[in-house]
Symmetry: C2
Subunit: 682 residues, 2 copies
Amino acid sequence: MTSNMRRLDVIRNHLSSKFPTMPFDDTLEKYRQRTPSFNKDSLFAIYMGSHHKLIRMLRESSKNSPLINHTAYTFGSREDKHQQIYRIVGEIYTKAPLTYEQDLQDPTKKLSILQALCEFDIASGTRCIVHMSLYIDTIQNLGTAKHRTRIDRAYKLLDYGSFAMTELGHGSNVAGLEVIANYDKKTREFIINSPTKTSAKWWIGAVGKTANMSLIIDGDNKGVHVFLIQIRDFDTHEACKGVILGDCGEKNELNGIDNGFIIFNNYRVPYDCLLDKYSMINEEGKYKSPIKNKQKRLGIMLAGLLRGRFAVSSASEISLRNALTIALRFGAIRKQFGEPEKSILDYQTHRTRLIPHFCRMFAIRSGLHYLLSYLRTNSILFYKDPECEELNELHAILSVFKSLASTYAFNGIQECRESTGGHGYSAHSGLARLRGTADVLMTWEGDNTVLVQQTSKYILKQIQRLLKGAKNTSTTLQFVRLDYEISLWPINSLQDLTTENIIKVYQGYINCIAKQTMQKLQENIQKYDNTTDVWNNSQSSYAQTLASVYGEFLYYQEMVIMCKSIANNDRSLASIIMKIPELYVIDCWERRQRVYVDLGCKAENCAFLRDRHIELCNEIGNWVLPIIETLASCDNFIGSVYGYTDGQAYNRLIEAVEKEQGVYEKPTWLSDIRNVRKAASS
Amino acid sequence: MTSNMRRLDVIRNHLSSKFPTMPFDDTLEKYRQRTPSFNKDSLFAIYMGSHHKLIRMLRESSKNSPLINHTAYTFGSREDKHQQIYRIVGEIYTKAPLTYEQDLQDPTKKLSILQALCEFDIASGTRCIVHMSLYIDTIQNLGTAKHRTRIDRAYKLLDYGSFAMTELGHGSNVAGLEVIANYDKKTREFIINSPTKTSAKWWIGAVGKTANMSLIIDGDNKGVHVFLIQIRDFDTHEACKGVILGDCGEKNELNGIDNGFIIFNNYRVPYDCLLDKYSMINEEGKYKSPIKNKQKRLGIMLAGLLRGRFAVSSASEISLRNALTIALRFGAIRKQFGEPEKSILDYQTHRTRLIPHFCRMFAIRSGLHYLLSYLRTNSILFYKDPECEELNELHAILSVFKSLASTYAFNGIQECRESTGGHGYSAHSGLARLRGTADVLMTWEGDNTVLVQQTSKYILKQIQRLLKGAKNTSTTLQFVRLDYEISLWPINSLQDLTTENIIKVYQGYINCIAKQTMQKLQENIQKYDNTTDVWNNSQSSYAQTLASVYGEFLYYQEMVIMCKSIANNDRSLASIIMKIPELYVIDCWERRQRVYVDLGCKAENCAFLRDRHIELCNEIGNWVLPIIETLASCDNFIGSVYGYTDGQAYNRLIEAVEKEQGVYEKPTWLSDIRNVRKAASS
């Protein structure tokens, strides 16, 4: 929209408003102009990665779509939301269709399509990924040739799939699932039952209203198995006989997803429903599996969750980016105190609260690049050897990235909400919606608290290898030593603040906490008589911290790579972009100052880092608006009156409010006012 | 309800359910029995304070009220919510009516009535306090004899008042308000106008639908003034001529409050509408005020906000308590991992995440006791001398308590949400509602970031006094010294962990950060040429931290007093209750380990405190369920399927979900599924 057209638009809205008119507010435009220009295309391409053109195309082609409408979404019923989100999935999917072969060639493209969907709402991304990844990937991983037709049908959306693992009574403890599949040797069928109330499959995406197929994860006495079954009739859409399907009801957010429940009542399915690559029953009725260890088999059964966790990192970055776009634009527009009044984004307290989250957004994105490149390189290997070391390492990294990314997103969005003051409390800000969606990212696809244990276990296993004299097999942990000695704290001035020194600190820090954790485990071996208790009582402040610090370290290294690439492509940005990973690290340290204590950083050197933190927030703050705007999605995807490109926050808000129902009407419950008056005054 | 009746209730619900039946779940009852018994009445009385009987009476008399119904509240329209909350206010108010005289005698009773309302939802508390405190207190503070009749009418709810300060464009910066009241000497009237769009009064509680009166705060060239004006006709409920009233629309939560906007268009009101105790215009048209300083006058004009900030602390404690009741009961009921499966509340990671928030709840409550006793002792003095030292100190403490309490509440509720996993994502958990309401507490009644500056300014002023050789006038800051020297870190073992040593650490810590902040201010005087910039650039990590640490210190001291009183009244609780303030403090230190760095605590002593933190979480965890249940509100006030006293979490959830609309129905948008299928497969 040109500036003139925008002005016309503003005038038009005023005609029906009861508010005084307001001239076109050019505060945001003026704020933008304060930053030197830079190469926006190059920044966009590097930040978004190899599918940046696809992302741009999907945004552009939907920026005027009537479906991409947050007002409708906010005020619609749950049923309306289901429909709107389903239509959006259909729209985006038909714009960027995929085939099985294409996906095998580049397993990262699917995740880029999901990004466009998540830029509107994670509900749309989720409705797509449950089908496209949890469902399809699992068939691909665990199925055999006979299941191939189901994959093709799924790509054509003829089958719409779901992934029914979680039950009412069990989430993280997958081994405790209660649904039972009994094998009937005579008919070569499985009889599936939900024996208890708590065994009802629960929260299953797409089951409430959409899916006609489902993967059922059961927990019979051979361990966990996956069955590919039909749950609804393809034509009538009725639940199959023996299957009860329902909707899980109102949620905190994400009501566009039709999460549902499934109850089985002697549901008979043919043998071929078992995904039998790693577990089969032969004609004689004998159970066989190439993987003898139940625990390992469980791990392989869940490998289909891999891209789901990628998607969580991606969704985290997107929701944080949307929130920052809103909060930073508002921070420029909103003026308070001073003569003339200053943009609140120009205050120290505002920059120190928002800029660190902006850096974290870069962290998540950099980590995602790392994961995607790892996946691209190794996906064929993973498929062939699900027990390979590379996959173990990926799981370890993916787990902590998923946990950090979702936590960063939630906390960052909340900071955005708080930083917009009372305005952020209007539903039209979109911030509570973003917060509510990011919230679940910390829980699903592996609860963060439980999930990071995979990471710490992986790190500690490397140490155990060293203890046994074996080789450390990790590509990311080669610096781990049994005899690591903490050296002098190396960062005492600006010259010391180098990538090398930061890496040195992290390597010392990780070694230090690993050692503390090993000691805690040793202590607990004396205290408890089983390994589970030993492990569970070494989590808080030990194994958990170990995992987080390792994640931070990897993020930092990937940020340096991404930011260097940005700097190399743009001389203007080169002056600022490397400060983003620097601030990210100092911010990590400042929030949990244990690194200073454990590594012997003296009070005066902490003071230097404390002031550097503030300084960096201020310097990056001078660039933050045009950088976030280069990466930001379109107005209709973001859906906030405060986050519009045109910067007309107050006008947009009033326009939205005046369109709501009954704004100027008397209460329908006026008689209550009169009744209470009477009762209280008599 | 007896246990047998509960069992019957469970069976009845099953008759209409499609789920397998479930025997009565006695997990919660068994969990309760693990803790030694203690005197619950005594704990309740001390924790709730002097009006504990009133609180109990209001709970008891409403525990079967059909109005106290969260399902209706969750699924109602905004209009329904307005009505329900208004009715609740009416119900509670008529059960515990108040007169002006009673309030003067004991200014804390009003706040106790509000508590009962907030136990259902902060919306009901707010709809009451805006009228009962912001409105009435301000008339009382700033009005003169002629305004007395308005106070009486307000107590009888004949007038329903509002407090119109915030505008669309200005919140924290009260001096920047745009509404203008011009004095017309001839008619002895004020002409009130909203000259711009951003001057619309915004977010004004009760203005949307309810209020017929309002206090208008304007910002003309004599500074900020307060006018008591009518906004709606008493009989017809139409907006007065010259006044436009509307509803501010959908919010993130608290939709039971009818926040509204006001636009003035040459609205003429008689002179007597000016609350003229501290500013008047005489018959000759001359302006007079006994307080010459504009800034000071502003402070006095806003004194009516005092009890509003008390209410924020109170609402914070209540919403956190409700959330903890839900999360702790669920933590006992929910079992995961182990053979037999263990309650998740028995895991270290679960206790270390929840128990510190339970201690913070005690902190907020203890602080509230302190504030209330301060208010009870000094309220007459405040009324007589609004510039007295005691009021300054109260403002300083109130500000940081308001900020800490609301932040604790939000973060604690969120931890409760996360700790309940996917179940916490159901709207029937009530946790998102609690989070959404607590969220605004950080913003309204003074944005936390801005508000704590009052506290740090107060502390630094005491130091400036000392620098000038004057006396330190604060009762809470007598330990502040210009020549304070940090002594050796005193806590190196369990024996060292005494109240005396903790106080010693805090006194050192506050002196240390005060000194750092003074140095930062000195540095900034060289850098910036005006005091505002000097001050604004000394906030992050300096003045802000100073205020927080001071608040923590006061909280700790008050917790010790309250917990000692509990211990003195109950030998059983005496073994555990003093650990609550101890954990509170260690948790504060562990979260921001700067105290260790600044006060020279060595790594090995930190390790001791780190382990003590975990140990205390575990020990308090053994007592936490019966303690929180002693303080918990009734089931219908809390409104969570997971938080019921009977512990039937799964049954309650399914009952709630099956009652929702269209749970078992096919989608109304089935044709969309067919259309997308066709489009994607062609």
